[in-house]
């Protein structure tokens, strides 16, 4: 499952992964989210680039996040 918990703001004690659902970063991101490392982890586990991007859309679909994600894992047309 595409989980974005590694860059999410904590405080929830990770109840979603604990109860069988992927983290969707409903509290936003921590102060220095490493989008590049997350993108690399997704790629390494064979998850589509779009799977991570659409997870971020649920609670964090704003311009800065889209740009950061695009820099971290450029879409095929950009490379």
């Amino acid at each position: 499952m595409p989980c974005v918990g590694a860059i999410a703001r904590a405080g929830c004690e990770a109840i979603c992964p604990a109860y069988g659902a992927p983290c969707e970063a409903c509290r936003g991101f921590h102060d220095a989210p490493n989008f590049a490392a997350l993108g690399e982890a997704f790629t390494r586990h064979g998850l589509a680039r779009t799977a991570a991007a659409e997870k971020l859309q649920l609670f964090n679909d704003y311009r800065e996040v889209r740009a950061a994600w695009e820099r971290a894992l450029p879409s095929p047309s950009d490379t």
Partner: protein, 430 residues
């Protein structure tokens, strides 16, 4: 000259969401009698579009903070129907336990905090806590227990985490179930007191016979969905829901109205229907647990009542029913604590309808899922939308009987009528 009156309640209090009661009587003629739904539409059906089907329950549950388990259950039922997944009996039982928790939570919230102030002459629960502290404290304890059931099963007090098509992401440990067993046993006294308190209340006599509708499942009190049964004798399979729950837009409401196929059969002239606790008691009182039957008798609730105010007593009966169901489910799950599932999908996509009896009535989620596993189309029918036409029809019967009363009494009586339905306007404008 006939009587004239004008009532304008701009934002009715002690209901979920924003609605206005607007009544005008000129020279004995009722010219306006509307429950205006002024809360903005929230477009959840569009939010679901394009999302992976596994997310449906987690997105849809955000429609409501009070019946979030109901929305999650209807969503997961719809996805399972679309993907050809048939969950096993213990998976269904675990979900039923969660629904029982939510019924108790929602009914007690309505009874103890939204309705009780009307019955005991308080303007809200705050002065009621001073005048009737035992009632309010007992209701708070019951609500905490009910929320704790939902937390133990699905990870949060509201908005469950663990619902997936074919499985649950968490199976309660025996220690959690034993904790619930003890808590449920302690709650029996508070429930008994709740029945006593509501048995003392006399509501206005208002009889308007109309069709009552509920989704009945075989061999159990209606909760987890099935064919739509009505007191007019009609039985409709889930696939035929749109013909008997006919949605349409009216000018004064951001929530669609729903009518049944009765009346003159025209699109907007069809018969009104009622859904919710009273409708379920009407259609399935013979399936109530013995403790709930005892409560029904103490409350002197006639199962075939045509008085919408009796929905309050029916909610008390169903609180007892939900408690009894939770006790039984905990015992059954403890007897065999091994998790069940997951059940795999048998097709990548398709069309599915999920029906659940949520605290306020029959909830329908209808999805189309594409071969890519994403939701292509979603339609949700909310119980409050199904009751709106009935609420206004009741108001039209009630207003002439109130014309000799002072304006503030008339206003309060109409507010109580709307509250008796326990409308959730935020759900209705999903």
């Amino acid at each position: 000259m006939g009587a004239s009156a004008a009532v304008s309640v701009r934002h009715l209090t002690r209901v979920e969401g924003h609605g206005n009661i607007v009544v005008d009587v000129h020279d004995g003629v009722l010219t306006r009698c509307d429950l205006e739904i002024v809360e903005a539409p929230r477009f959840f059906e569009v939010l679901l579009k394009g999302r992976p089907a596994d997310e449906a329950a987690r997105i849809a549950c955000r429609i409501c903070g009070i019946c979030s388990v109901g929305h999650a259950t209807a969503a997961v039922h719809a996805v399972e129907a679309a993907l050809g997944i048939t969950p096993g009996p213990r998976l269904r039982l675990l979900r039923r336990l969660n629904m029982a928790g939510e019924w108790l939570q929602s009914h007690v919230l309505h009874l103890g905090f939204l309705v009780a102030p009307d019955a005991f002459g308080a303007s809200s629960v705050v002065p009621l806590a001073a005048s009737h502290p035992d009632l309010v404290k007992g209701a708070l304890r019951l609500k905490r227990l009910a929320n704790d059931i939902c937390m133990a099963v699905s990870g949060r007090h509201v908005m469950p985490i663990s619902y997936h098509p074919g499985w649950m992401g968490h199976w309660p440990e025996p220690v959690e179930l034993e904790w619930l067993r003890g808590r449920l046993a302690e709650a029996a006294a508070d429930l008994d007191a709740l029945v006593d308190v509501f048995a003392q209340i006399t509501w206005p006599a208002l009889a308007r016979p109309t069709e009552h509708v509920a989704a009945l499942e075989p061999g159990a009190y209606p909760m987890m969905g099935g064919p739509l049964h009505s007191t007019a004798g009609r039985v409709t399979p889930p696939a035929g829901y749109a013909a008997v729950l006919r949605e349409f837009v009216v000018d004064h409401s951001a929530a669609k109205h729903v009518r049944g196929p009765g009346g003159d059969g025209s699109r907007e002239g069809g018969g009104t229907i009622r859904v919710g606790a009273l409708a379920r008691v009407s259609l399935a009182y013979d399936r109530l647990h013995p403790t709930a039957v005892a409560a029904l008798e103490r409350l002197k609730l006639a199962p075939d009542s045509a008085n919408p105010f009796d929905n309050v007593a029916a909610q008390v009966v169903e609180s007892v029913q939900a408690h009894a169901e939770a006790v039984a489910a905990v015992e059954e799950l403890l007897a065999d604590p091994a998790p069940e599932g997951p059940v795999a999908a048998t097709r990548p996509g398709g069309e599915g309808i999920g029906i659940v009896e949520v605290p306020r009535g029959t909830l329908v989620h209808h999805y189309e899922i594409g071969a890519d596993g994403r939701i292509a189309r979603a339609n949700c029918l909310i119980p409050t939308g199904q009751n709106l036409a009935s609420i206004e029809a009741d108001m039209r019967v009630f207003v002439p009987a109130l014309l000799d009363r002072p304006k503030d009494e008339m206003t309060h009586a109409l507010e109580m009528l709307v509250r008796a339905y326990d409308p959730c306007i935020s759900c209705a404008v999903h």
